[in-house]
């Protein structure tokens, strides 16, 4: 981010993946408060984005990463959303057996 500076003289280490995910999640979940929910999409839009992330519009994606309430709500919906295959259904043994 322009204007951001680390502590002078401190030897910089690459953030571990686990730390990046933990801190990044907290950053997006807390650092963009929007108490009046200005410009937020309806909950149904966030729910749809959580159910089908691959079909999310760029506008919704940009908003989620700039609004902590929407980011948290998206996360809640994501937790509840069943993961559906984008291309094909996974073939199970029972399905194979019924086909043959």
């Amino acid at each position: 981010m322009p204007g951001a500076k680390g502590k002078s003289g401190a030897r910089k280490r690459k953030l571990s993946d686990k730390a990046f995910l933990a801190i990044g999640n907290r950053h997006l979940a807390e650092d963009f408060p929007n108490p009046t929910r200005q410009g937020c999409p309806e909950d149904s839009v966030l729910k749809l984005a959580a159910e089908h992330p691959a079909q999310m519009s760029e506008e919704t994606l940009n908003h989620i990463t700039l609004c902590s309430p929407c980011y948290n709500l998206f996360g809640d919906f994501l937790g509840k959303a069943p993961v559906k295959s984008a291309h094909r259904k996974p073939t199970t043994r029972s399905a194979k057996a019924s086909q043959s």
């Binding site: 981010m1 322009p2 204007g3 951001a4 500076k5 680390g6 502590k7 401190a10 910089k12 690459k14 953030l15 730390a19 990046f20 995910l21 933990a22 801190i23 990044g24 999640n25 907290r26 950053h27 997006l28 650092d31 963009f32 408060p33 929007n34 108490p35 009046t36 929910r37 200005q38 410009g39 937020c40 999409p41 309806e42 839009v45 089908h52 992330p53 691959a54 999310m56 519009s57 760029e58 506008e59 919704t60 994606l61 940009n62 908003h63 989620i64 990463t65 700039l66 998206f74 996360g75 994501l78 937790g79 993961v83 559906k84 295959s85 984008a86 291309h87 094909r88």
Partner: protein
Amino acid sequence: MPSMRETKPIRPVLLNEVDHLGRPIAPEVLSVAREIGPRAVAYADNLIGDPAVTVTCLEEAAASVSAAIAEKQRMGAPGVRDIGAYLFRTFIHLIDKAKHREMSFEDAVQEYGETQFNPTEQGRAETAVLINEIMAVCDQVSREIILLRLRDQSWEEIGRHFGISPYAAETRYRKALDRARKTLRIQK
């Protein structure tokens, strides 16, 4: 966006063409800053409650973004896709810093206690910078994959969402992080 919530009327924000450090703000960035100004200042007012500080931070953010864009052009680095989002993140980062400067002694002691179990300020700043860069330079699918990963989705789940293998999802994630890190190194 398909349907929006009702928004409150907000007042326009007057911005100078230079920040308080005398650094110029590029016309295209100034135009975006004036556009997002009312919303950004309304955001920040709730956090620090001083309109003068928030406007100063917005001007400082706009000048920093102008310098960053000029530097990217000079170095041949990928351009900023969404100046508004880039500017807004930089502004929020500065507001966060201003908020910490104004913390009372008691708050500072309490936060020190919390940092014994939480990430350091440097770690938070580095992550914020990296996420901002990812959102500015990476393609939509990569950003979506990173968003899902941040929300603790497994590679298998992410792969199923996008119709790709878990390995491909992880590779895309790593490439996006590496690309953002590389761009940041070029800027430094």
